[in-house]
Every structure is written in C-alpha cells, then in structure tokens.
C-alpha cells in the first residue's frame, strides 16, 4: 500500500521537471518586474557593502557609484582624467595651493529627502577622516590625511590643507570613497558601533545619485536599483538596474553571448573581445586603462641590492613577448605612471637603452658582471589570481624568466595567493615581484607616492623596491604642490627619469585596455577612465 501511494506522490512532485516546466499562465501571486526599461549588469564580483567610506572592493564600488556622488568627478568623455563639476558647481584653488573653496549645487536632495548643502558635505568628509565617527575599516582615509580645517557656510565649503597639495586632494575628492552621504543617515550612525554603522549605511543607502536602492540582499546575490525620480539632472530613462554576479569568466561569456534582455557586462574576458566586436546586438567599448603592469625589483634585498644588476634587469626585459599574453589588449610601457596620463613621457627609456636588443643584452651582461651577479639565482613572485594588468601572471613571469636567463641569471617563478603576497611586500622578503597598479584618483602622485616613495625614512607598504631615497622623496613632495599643470608634468617626467637612474626599483612592462560590453539597444551609457559606468543618461531603443 505504501509503495502504491509513494510512487504516484513522487511522480506528482516531479511533474514540473518531467514536463519541462511549462509556463502555465501563473496564479498571479507575485508581480513580475517590468522588463521594458530594465538593464541587467553582469558583473564579476558582487556587492556586500554599500558604505563608500569603508570599502575598497570593486564589486561594492560598481553599485556605490550609481547611488552616491562626489564633489567633482572624472570626465567620462576624456580618458585623460580631467575633472568636471558634480555636487560642487565650481571650485577655486588658492594661490598657495593650501585652500580649496567649493560652491555646492543648490536644490539637490538625497534619496531620504535631506537637502544637500555644505554642512552635509562637511559631515561626510569628517566621517571619512574619522572625526567624530569611528569606521570599521578605512581603506582610503589616508589619501585625505592632508585635509585640515573643513568649514561650511550655506552652500560654500572650504577645505584648508596641511600642506600645499590642493591638486592632489582635488583629484582624491573625485574618488567614490569621498562620496557624500545623507547627513540624516550619518547622524544616526554616530552612536553606533563601527560595524553596525557600516551595516546601517549599507541597508539604508541614501545618496544623491540617479538610482536609489530598491533591494539589497547580498546573501541571495540580489541587488536591484530603481531610478531616482527627483534626480537633479532629470529622472533617468532606465527604470531598473539589476546586478547579477557571474564570477566565472567563461560563464560570464556565456551570459553575454546568450543575453535576451538589455545587459551590460563588465570585466569582459579578453579572449572574447575580438568576437564580440562583430557580434550583432552587442557593443564592445574599450579604452586604455590608467594602469601599469611592472616587475618590482628590490633595492634592499640581498640578491638584488646592487644598482648595476637592477639596471641590467631593466635593460634585458623585452616588452613585445610580454604583450603577446594579452590578446592584443595591451601595449608596451616604459614609465611607472599610466600612459593615458599627461605626465607619461613617450620618449623616456631606461639608462643605456638601445633600440637594438642585441646591444642592450650585451650591455646588460656587462652590468651583471660589474655587480658580480653572474649565475645568481633569483625568484620572481607573482599573484596566483589574474589582475586587470596581469591576466596570466604565471605565463608572463615565465616569459620574463626566459629573458633574464639571456643575461646569465638563474630565475625561478613562484606564485602566491594575492592576499598573502601583497601584505608581505612590506617585509622586503621578495627580490622580484610581478605586480601592477591602477590609479585610484587619476593623479600621477597616486603612482609615485605609493609605489616609489615613502615617509619618515621608510619605503611605503606598496613600494616593492623598498628604497626610500631622500632626493626622490623631495621631488615627489615638490611635484604634489605644483599647481601649474605644465610645470607639474615636467616635474613628474624628471622624477621618472631620476627614479630609473638612481633606484631602478621597477621595470614598467605593459599598459592594458579595459572593456565593457552592452546590448546595442542600450545607448548613452557613460564610462569613465577608471571604468565606472553610469546609466543616468542611458536610453533603451525599442525592439524592432
């Protein structure tokens, strides 16, 4: 009897599977989302935290930039990283480069109804600097350490700086981490524990951006935004933006090529770029990213402490074979600063450079001999995980190993988890590290300060060379304070030259492209140089 009831019951339970789950018309219990004005974002990493002051994670930032805005922002039409007004209508830098005065836009409201004024901006910046607030983590707070007095009067916000670095601070203020959050929301967090405050800001996100948070359920991997009807630039046409995480890159490719609705995909697998360029219904947008992939060479490590050896390594590395690993999406680069930036010097090459590779190798061998390093055993360490500037770290490291063999060095390659490798750079235990950098604020200082300088006689944590050179430090500090753009460019070019001559602590290798792909019916998506995309001017063409 039991079997007689069990079998039909099981069959009943399986009916939907066995019948291929037909669309039965629905009982109408749950209202479907309107598809007519919806964009689905296929992204490699999902959002977990929507508090701009406490995160550095790319998955979070993609959502944050839809919800929040900054005083100034990078111009999306100019990949050379020019700034344009956003919540500040205008700004003025004092002659001594120690004061910035902003005129804050009027009539702007936060998603929770609060008004935007200078006091609201002040509160957000104070939280970023942990004045009157305690943050659970402050990954970018140090970039605003030069901020001294912040005064707010009506719509006028004045920032006084500890040193004359206004151009650098202005750029940092364009970063998502300097987002202006509703004062109503922030006031409520003052009495909370840092962790609880982060959760409160995340769950009640209220910025001035073109989209509002509709559903945020990180555990279920659902992030859905609705348009902000009261957006100060006019209500967006796109009504709903849904973020969908597809971590695996081949799966992301599948989603991209099989999409039925309107989509945008970031972190597009490089191997797909060529085929996507010709795929009907999709648009691939590519641009040179403000990044650099380089080989860091320690100047303090026992095995690479001799300057002639480091210069020999710089001479021996041929960019062409390295670039081949990037499927046509990278170009050789010869300075630490990204090629898209004005201070990049097209003509600059390392000392003793000769276009004839045979001559360079001969010179490099001489330098190795001079350093007494013939046959020396070195190890190249690289992150195991692909990075935007290193899509295949192990293969690229292997190419470099073969090139260094030509000048008589015995090189091994060793991969490490990025979360283990990056913190250990500061300990100085690695002689060669294959690594890279993407600027956070689009300023040349954001390359030289963290990667080639330091403070108080100590190299900064990300400086693989581990060299603190007093003269270089002086140059870095002086360049930060120059207000005149042309003079600033010259200062950074001179700095680069000196670094390659005096320290030779890195060998710049590649600058790469970044891409987003989206449905061709989606027009007007704004993408800026650092890769943030926005939909406030986007429209969806009706289906033909």
């Amino acid at each position: 009897m039991r079997a007689r009831t069990l079998i039909p019951a099981s069959l009943l339970l399986l009916t939907p599977f066995l019948t291929g789950c037909p669309q039965s018309g629905g009982g109408g219990g749950i209202k479907k989302i309107d598809q007519s004005s919806l964009v689905e974002v296929i992204t490699s990493d999902d959002a977990k935290v929507l508090d701009p002051h406490t995160t550095s994670d790319g998955g979070n930032v993609k959502v944050i930039v839809q919800l929040y805005q900054t005083l100034v922002r990078v111009d999306p039409d100019d990949f050379k990283q020019d700034l344009r007004p956003e919540l500040a209508e205008s700004w003025k830098i004092s002659d001594d480069a120690k004061t910035i005065t902003f005129q804050i836009r009027q009539g702007v409201k936060f998603h929770d109804g609060a008004e935007l004024d200078a006091a609201a901006c002040k509160l957000s910046l104070e939280r970023l600097l942990e004045r009157g607030f305690k943050l659970s983590v402050s990954p970018y707070g140090f970039m605003f350490a030069d901020l001294d007095q912040i005064t707010a009067e009506g719509q006028t916000l004045t920032l006084s700086l500890k040193s004359p670095v206004a151009p650098v601070v202005l750029r940092s203020l364009s970063m998502f981490s300097a987002s202006i959050v509703s004062p109503k929301l922030l006031e409520a967090t003052k009495s909370m524990e840092p962790g609880a405050a982060q959760v409160h800001v995340t769950q009640n996100a209220a910025g001035t951006g073109p989209f509002k948070l509709d559903t945020f359920d990180p555990a279920a991997k659902v992030t859905r935004l609705k348009r902000n009807e009261g957006y100060w630039e006019g209500s967006p046409t796109v009504e709903t933006v849904v973020f969908k995480q597809v971590a695996d890159k081949s799966a992301r490719g599948e989603y991209l090529t099989r999409a039925k609705g309107v989509i945008l995909c970031d972190d597009v697998p490089r191997e797909l770029w060529k085929s996507l360029e010709t795929q009907a219904g999709l648009t691939l947008k590519t641009w040179w990213s403000p990044n650099v992939g380089y080989l860091g060479v320690s100047g303090t490590h026992e095995k690479t402490k001799e300057l002639p050896l480091r210069r020999a390594i710089a001479l021996a590395l041929e960019r062409g074979p390295v670039v081949e690993h990037y499927e046509g999406t990278a170009r050789p680069t010869f300075s630490l600063v990204a090629q898209v930036m004005a201070s990049y010097d097209e003509k600059l090459r390392c000392p003793d450079w000769d276009e004839d590779r045979a001559k360079r190798i001969a010179k490099a061998k001489e330098l190795v001999k001079e350093a007494g390093a013939e046959g020396r055993e070195l190890t190249i360490y690289h992150p195991n995980q692909a990075r935007p500037y290193l899509p295949a770290p192990a293969a690229i490291a292997d190419t470099i190993r073969n090139q260094l063999k030509e000048i008589g060095l015995e090189v091994k390659v060793q991969g490490k988890d990025k979360n283990a490798l990056f913190p250990e750079i500061e300990t100085g235990k690695y002689e060669l590290v294959l690594i890279g950098w993407t600027t956070d604020n689009g300023d040349p200082d954001n390359f030289y300060s963290p990667l080639a300088d330091g403070s108080e006689g100590k190299a900064s944590a990300s400086n693989v060379s581990r060299v603190f050179d007093a003269k270089i430090h002086e140059q870095v500090m002086a360049a930060r304070a120059i207000a005149d753009p042309a003079k600033r460019i010259e200062a950074y070019r001179a700095l680069e030259k000196d670094l390659q001559t005096r320290v030779a602590g890195y060998v710049p290798l590649v600058n790469t492209k970044t891409a987003v792909a989206h449905s061709s019916s989606l027009n007007g998506v704004e993408v800026d140089g650092v890769g943030h995309y926005r939909f406030h001017k986007a429209t969806i063409a009706p289906k033909k």
Binding site: F17, I30, K48, A220, R224
Partner: protein, 417 residues
Amino acid sequence: MLAYLARRLALSGVLLLGVVLAVFLLHHALPMDPAAALLGKNYSAEKAHELRESRGLNDPLPVQFARYLGELSRGDLGTSHVSNVPVTEELKAALPATIELGLTALLLAILLGVGLGILTSLRPRTWWDVSGLTLALVGVSLPIFWLGFLAVAVFGDNGTLESRGQALLASSGGGPGIYALAALGGAFLVSPFLVFGRKTFPALARPLGAITLLVVGGLLGAGALHFAFGFRGLPLGGRFDASVWPLNTFVAETPGATGFLLYDTLFVARDSEAFAHVCSHLLLPALVLSSVPTAIIARITRAAMGEVLVQDYIRTAKAKGLTGARVILKHALRNASIPIVTTIGTQLGYLLGGAVLTETIFQWPGMGRYVVDAILASDIKPLQASVLIVAVAFVLINLAVDMSYAWLDPRVGEGRQ
C-alpha cells in the same frame, strides 16, 4: 532503545566538541588574513595591526577560543568581517537554498538510484545489469564540474544543442523530414534489442513485438529531437532570475514564506508560473548534483538486493503467490534497506556540504557559494560557521541513520550482534 539513543547522543556530543576545536583552529592553520583582504592594495602593517586589534584577532589563542565558545553557547556564529552582518542572518538565505537543492538532488538520486539498483538486481548478468552498472560507473567517475559545464553548454538557455538543433531544423525547413530521420535513428538505436533482448523479452521474437519495439524507438528518436532542439532551454544559473521575479522581496515581506522557493511559490504565493520558473532553475543543478549519489545508491541497492533475493524467505513469499512488486518492495527491499539507508544518509551529508562545485558553476546562492566567497575574502567567521553547520548536519544525519537501523532491524536497538 533509550539507552542506545543516549549512548549515540553522548558520542555525538564529544564528536561535536572536537569539530568546534578543529573549526576554530582552521583559520590559524590557513594563510587567511582578513586585514589583507579588507585593506586590499592599500595594505600596510600598521593599518592591518590596528584592524586586527579592533576585531580581537591579536588576542592569544586560548582567549579567542574561550570567546568563540561563549559566542557559540549563545547561538552566536559571529559576524562577517566583510559585511559586518551576523553570520546567522546571512545563513538565513544560504541555508534554504542549499537544503532545497540538496533534497531535490537526493530525491532524484533515491528514485533513480534505487530504481536502477532493483532493476539490475532482478536480472543479474544480463544486458540490463551491465547497462545499469556501466551507467553507475559513469555517474561516479564523471567530475561534477565537467558535468556541470557540459549541462550548461548543452541544455542551458540557447545552449549549443538547442542553437545547433534549431539551425538544423531551420535549414531543413523544420518539416517532417528531419523528424522522420530522427525516428529512423531511434529505431536503429533500439534494433540490437531484437537480437540481444529476446531472452529477456520473448515477445520480441514475434513480428508484432519487433514492430512495436521499432515504433517505440522511432517515437523516442523523434521525441528526443523535439525536446532537445525545440524546447526553450534551461536557465544558466541562479535560484531565480532577479531581473524578472522579485522572489527575495516576496520571501522577506510575506508572512509564512520560508525561503524554500518551491514551497513559497506553490503554497504561499500559489503562483504556478513562478513555481515553474523556480523548477526550471533547479532542474539542471539538481540533476548534476544527483549524478554521484544516484550511481552510489544504485550500486549499493543492487548488491544488497542481490544478497536478499536468493534467500529462502523470498522463494517462500513467491510460493505463497504474492505479486512480484509486493515481494520486491515489502520483503526484499525492506530487508536490504540498511546499507541503502546508510548510503542515502551519507549522501545527504555530501549533498548539503559538498555542493560547492555545483553551486559555483550554477551561481547557486547556497552554502557552497557562501564558503567560496568567505575563503576568497579571508572572512573567517562565515567559513567557521559553514564548516560547523555541515559537521553538525553530518553528525545529526548519522544519528538519524543509526536510529533508523533500530526501526528497520529491532535487534540493533536491543544491543544484540
């Protein structure tokens, strides 16, 4: 029976304490530094030390362990370093997703595995037996990740098979020709039965039987073509399409909703379209996940049934005139069920804890994905909690299996050998 239960419970308690200690020591043995993950490229030793200090990670191990035990005793699984949300909150969404997937896969595995096992055991050393065992061997041998990718590529929305098939149908005008060809192919594929199946099915020796077989083969061929190429394809992943159905909002806002979407859509929302949508998302991952358990259950069932079916009491039951189904299901299967139940129990544990690959391939927001995310972000508390929950599930399932022995075979509960 009560003494047996008490003994088993006491043993489980000791086991769980060991698990708690192992779970606590887990992150100290692994190169996981939440500070490195949180600070990213702006890491510095000073900032990292400050961060670890604020989260008590610099305290001596015994202090941390005592704190951990204290938290556990209050039912507190800790807070994620990344999101600062209590792990119990995050698990509210992940756990139902995994249980729903695991139970569906187990149901499929039991139906298919026990069925296949009985079928092969009834006709040992025949074509049926060899085919069944081969299928089981293939099921055990195929790596889940490969099977998963294959399933997505072939049956996924606009998958390879569908798009190629549609192109083929379009090029042939989609007319009856291509179906006739498929029918011929199906008839050809079943034709060996006419020779090798006569022993099992004597009717095949007669013309009517042979024609029936070929017609059935032809229909299967044409039907397979229609199903594979004509159907709309299955979703590539996820529990549901968040750009179409606001199911998570529904679960959060509706009293009585459980987070088990099959139940919620069918019984709470009473929305057959949403239910069908959830089923379509569940089908591929459940099938892929059930492949190994199906194979293992089939092999165990075959072996256990093989031993029982030759016993005297089975012959007696048949001699009494009982129907074949009654003999197999009531007399044979029940007596063969101890190893089968044990296997099902261990497979349930495997399905709940071992769905990491399946959940990753199919973007399933369950425990497996949760663990992977925690590892990638060096987020210790979610990792500890997930491992602990899976361990507890294993212990409880084993306990339940042991209890079921006592029900299936009363001698076990009485402590006899």
